[in-house]
């Protein structure tokens, strides 16, 4: 056993990374700066705050606006297959490209982007570990001049429904008709129903609380102080402590479905579990008629 461990360790070191799996889905700021001129690299920023990209982005990056580029605004759905393919081709993505996504606020929406890329079967998609936060903290260079890349030729696949949970899937868990684990990544006060949503947000549900059976692991527990994902072993422990150990399928959710992609990424890509993202999230579930909720704080329709 000791020999096997030693061989694994040596193997890992030879590969230059402690774990093979994260290396497939994360790149470091160092790696990115060294490979920034690789013609096969396509760098895409998905930030929440307007003006971030324009005032300064990593050289060669293309900007995706999450609430117009990555969604279908009419159907409250993810972007359609033809529109996504066009978006990627306009961004210069080809079938042999390596796509690196990054963004502000700890890669929340870059991770959402990664989920959309995965849903449409795009290969070689990675996140910049630590996102803008780490890149800026390390005083690495930003440029303000955005370039229009030559069109790419990527072909995207039909949406893979296995990566996405719908309301019915979550209701089935709440009613104990399905053996799936639920991870609620919102703050403890949202989870308990003390607040309907964080201050200042527009998207609300009429009821507060959480899906019965869901465990609460706020997304921030998955990241280190510098914004990078915590090491795999640590992540495993954090989720195992609330019973999420990969032994059964998992569904992640938040309020509108974007931050939960961050935890989806950690569980699915870094830990290799079977995970779906519920992008309807609490704004859909908390407003749905005839579904059970768990509300320890006892708030009722905002009129406690």
């Amino acid at each position: 056993m000791k020999l096997v461990k030693s061989l694994l360790l040596v193997g890992s070191l030879l590969l230059g990374t402690a774990h093979a799996a994260p290396g497939d889905f994360l790149v470091s700021t160092d790696w990115l700066e060294k490979n920034i001129n690789d013609p096969k690299l396509r760098l895409i920023e998905v930030s929440v705050n307007p003006g971030q990209f324009e005032r300064g982005h990593i050289q060669g990056a293309v900007n995706f606006t999450w609430h117009t580029d990555l969604v279908d605004p009419v159907k409250r759905d993810i972007v359609s297959q033809p529109n996504f393919e066009k978006l990627l081709r306009d961004a210069g993505v080809s079938n042999d490209s390596t796509v690196v996504l990054y963004g502000d606020t700890n890669n929340w929406f870059a991770a959402w982007g990664a989920w959309v890329f995965d849903t449409y079967g795009v290969k070689n998609v990675k996140l910049l570990d630590g996102g803008r936060k780490k890149w800026e903290a390390e005083n690495r260079p930003l440029v303000a001049v955005a370039k229009v890349p030559a069109a790419g030729n990527v072909k995207v696949q039909p949406a893979n429904k296995a990566l996405r949970a719908r309301l019915a899937d979550v209701v089935a868990v709440a009613e104990k008709k399905s053996n799936v684990a639920l991870v609620d990544i919102r703050s403890a006060d949202e989870y308990s129903g003390k607040v309907f949503a964080p201050a200042g947000v527009q998207e609300l549900a009429i009821r507060a609380g959480h899906v019965p059976g869901a465990v609460n692991v706020p997304w921030g527990q998955a990241v280190a102080a510098d914004g990078t994902f915590k090491p795999v072993e640590e992540l495993k422990k954090i989720y195992a402590a609330v019973g999420i150990d990969g032994s059964k399928p998992v569904i992640t959710y938040c309020r509108i479905g974007e931050r939960s992609s961050h935890t989806w990424f950690a569980l699915k890509k870094l830990l290799g579990y079977d995970v779906r993202n519920y992008d309807g999230s609490w704004t859909e579930y908390g407003n749905a008629v005839g579904v059970p909720i768990n509300n320890p704080a006892g708030t009722v329709w905002g009129g406690k």
Binding site: R55, V145, A146
Partner: protein
Amino acid sequence: MAALAVPPARRLAVSATVVAAVVLFSHHLGGIAEGGRELALSALFGLAFGIFLQRSRFCFFCVSRDFIEQRDARGLLGIVAALAIGIVGYHLVFGAFLPVPTPGRLPPQAHIGPLSWVLAAGAFSFGIGMALSGSCISAHLYRLGEGSTASPFALLGALVGFALGFASWNDLYLSGIQQAPVVWLPHHFGYAGSVALQLVVLAIIAIGLWRWHRQPDAVAAKGGAWERRWPAYVGGLLVGFLGVLSYFRLGPLGVTAELGSIARTAASTTGWLPDRLEGLDTFSGCATVIKQTLWSDNGVFILSLVLGSLAAAVFAGDFKPRLPRLPEIGRALAGGVLMGWGAMVALGCTVGTMLSGIMAGAASGWVFGLFLFGGLWLGWQARRKLDWG
């Protein structure tokens, strides 16, 4: 000829101390973990803006009055100069930020507002208000630094006006703003076309102003070179450059966001405002959010503007506080209310919606300017006919 008089040591010392205080304040802000760099830069930009406004008397009402009463066009030409520099600079930056002005996309944070009758009404109200109170909001801020004792009343009135604006916002939004088009000239003419069109319009305005211009009788220059005001075009060019730099690094120049935030926060806590202000937070402009932190970029900018003006005024011997007369207080308060309401419903004022908007190629900036001067003229007439101060 007056000697190249350096201000007395006492004035120099006060002025240097104020500038040093702002620089130290900026340094302190730079240490704040989230957004510290932006706060620090806001403080320095505010300092520069305050100095430029004070030294070049960059006051929209004052220079308009110079023209209306004496046909002295130099001040208005200074504003034209600021706009020309700003238009070229903004469009150069846009080309870097958004290589192609694609329909449906607007440059980040640029003050490009909806074109509606509400914008016209807001600008008109603002124009009357600045004529009554004697300055627009930015000029009241720099005049605070000169020791103007009427300006606090105008700013107080503006806070009340903002609160009235918030209270009327939902009705105005639903009846006039929600369906209004947002017209960004580069969408229709490209970057080059937008620059060319606006520069031609400015050139026509400048030629018109120059034809009407009458040089006022020469007055013997008082004091040394340090005490003389900078020519208006120098102020205009500096303000234009500062506007571009500010847009590039932080956001468009604007002076009402913080006032609006204070009014909104105060009115919200009293429960006087509607719970939801429909659509307001989706517009760029001097957007006014509920205050959640002590220091906002705009708050720091305003504070430093006032201090910059104070330093410049003391330095040049322009710091002259005096007690305001009662009619002045009344005019300042009433004018302030009209300006506050106008700035709120028009999403900004002379600096935010007009100056920054026109620089950004926003049709809303031009409309604001047109109705602003209409209101200003009417307010000036009223003030003159009523012999009101």
